[in-house]
Chain length 359, copies 2
């Protein structure tokens, strides 16, 4: 790991030296932060939610300290954008790139489209990198996605001396809150902007807010307040992957009932658990996943039978394709799997949104 650190530092410093002039650093928190589910936290602004305001299970809290889905929005005419940032020490996962886990991911709007511009390559816990350089000096709208799986404790954005950077309005409209598992959280996209909520936001302009909660998206009672206070225009429950079949059977109906009561008129969309490749030969996993799938289907059936208003269920077994190429590790979609998942579920989501005038 020390070698990884050294390699990244050498790369970063070499790149920084190659710049033509001095770099001026600005606190990223002085710019616009987009993607918070509730308010911007009073403490660390890069937490997804203000965990002090809610009493959350520790596993949930840990995931919401990570800024998955948060992005810094700013405008600049600087030919170069660099970054210095720090993350709390945390194990690297084997099924994700360090860039996705601890790195930064920059998009610049060109002709109305968000075009990928550069990544901030991470080191160990403190990081310094050129994100993009040698651009023209026209004013540009920038969206810098923050790490998926590390708590961000500081972030400064560097621009060339003599150029400017200013906050930008949130480029997204409406609020579609996605509560889910590691999959909604972003594992195993290759960089933070490839998480499916981020991709949906950039392609549609509608804000898909990431409340994916790796390993802990289990419809715990403590999530009720968070989801209600997120004031969604639509609530997507992509949280079938983490709970057991028993938990799905016990929790889904009351979870939806509670949210239905507190969020009248807001469409609630339950998404079936993503098909896993871990079931291909392992009969234990195959049974377990089939039971979860059946439990989700049964919960949806009950809610439909009860005629719970504005409730929708997106069922399906092949969100990631059927050729066994859509995951990194059998469970977590790679970028190919996410692309297929978006192609399957997005048309259904946008169709429902349009019924509510959300476009």
């Amino acid at each position: 790991m020390k070698k990884f650190l050294l390699l990244a530092l050498v790369f970063s410093l070499a790149a920084l030296q190659s710049s033509e002039g001095q770099i001026r650093y600005v606190q990223a928190s002085d710019f616009t932060l987009v993607g918070h589910a509730v308010n911007r936290p009073s403490g660390n602004p890069y937490h997804r939610i203000d965990t002090a305001r809610f009493s959350l299970p520790s596993g949930v809290e840990k995931q919401y300290l990570c800024p998955a889905g948060l992005a810094v929005a700013f405008r600049t005419n600087s030919p170069q954008i660099t970054a210095r940032w720090s993350t709390t020490p945390r194990s690297l996962y084997a099924n994700m790139t360090p860039i996705a886990q601890r790195g930064l991911d920059l998009y610049i709007r060109r002709d109305g489209e968000w075009v990928w511009a550069g990544v901030g390559t991470p080191s160990e816990n403190t990081h310094e990198a050129v994100v993009v350089q040698k651009m023209d000096s026209s004013w540009k709208e920038c969206l810098l996605y923050l790490p998926l799986f590390a708590e961000l404790t500081s972030l400064e954005i560097g621009i060339d001396e003599g150029f400017s950077a200013v906050p930008m309005d949130d480029p997204f409209r409406h609020r579609v809150v996605i509560y889910g598992s590691s999959i909604a959280h972003g594992a195993s996209g290759s960089r933070s902007g490839m998480a499916y909520p981020a991709r949906l936001s950039r392609s549609s302009g509608i804000h898909f807010i990431n409340l994916g909660c790796s390993g802990n998206g289990k419809m715990q009672r403590e999530m009720w307040d968070v989801l209600v206070e997120s004031k969604p225009d639509m609530l997507i429950l992509d949280c079938m992957p983490n709970p057991s079949a028993k938990e799905i059977a016990e929790r889904t109906v009351p979870f939806v009932h509670y949210l239905r009561d507190r969020l009248p008129g807001v469409p609630i969309v339950l998404i079936q658990t993503t098909g896993r490749e871990t079931v291909n030969f392992n009969h234990y996993f195959a049974n377990m996943e089939a039971e979860k799938r059946a439990a989700a289907r049964e919960a949806a059936r009950i809610l439909k039978e009860e005629k719970v208003p504005d409730f929708y269920f997106i069922d399906g077994e092949d969100f990631l394709g059927l050729d066994h190429l859509g995951t990194c590790d059998g469970t977590h979609p790679n970028d190919l799997g996410f692309d297929r998942m978006i192609n399957k579920i997005a048309p259904k989501i946008f169709k429902i949104l349009s019924r509510y005038g959300i476009r």
Copy 2:
């Protein structure tokens, strides 16, 4: 990194304990090793080529010590497959998963199709993992891909006591040798079996041999002997990403001439450099890549004009798509980019192969 190690070990040991009985380990080198470009090396059998036989630049040699594209072929009726392996200490790259860099990737043939079965999750330098378990005890054909970016120094495959594992015939026919850059090498696929040569082999049954040479696929003179001795039925030169425009202009024509002379009748296919996203805003990279692309096109034009027999050029700028989602870091395809690249180039490759009766 120590934490990463601990996490992986806890996971592995928990999984191993959950198995129902004792595990018996077999040296993987006692099984069939598929994917060597020349012969199986007399020393470490997991080197891609016997580096002692060739005088290679150190950067090239380092990459060919990694078993990218090599796989262990065996048959077993064991309900569980585990592995113990060691890799030489090497920095983790930020743009790849540890699973792809140091891990294992297992496929099992079912109804004629290679179906993903499990990964071996790596630790630091010595690794132990359950790859798949709780299978039925029918005999299965297994193909276990080795790490992309680490030298493998030992590998034992574990099966349940009371069951058997035996070598399997190489499941692939013919020899299409792909000489290239980090992209052919496999970066940034999410696991080793997602490298495009491996995907082409599994889907077609034709053997695409991986001589991708990360950062060092520059048509050096020292590669001549390796490529001639690889005795290809087709030679694919996907080596435009690494050399500069000047190197492409100087080296491509003599490189092809030499190989044409030594490999009469063997189709040689030059592939245009993959479009990079690093050019989106960086005008220096944009110029550099445009020059490389033009140099490759000019070299192909010269070779065509000379009527070099059995020479083909696959040109194109959009192998990875035009939506800026096909790479991890602007240069290296993610699994989505590889999927698109395969969809673009594979039909052309198979069309050429069929002209030579290679099916």
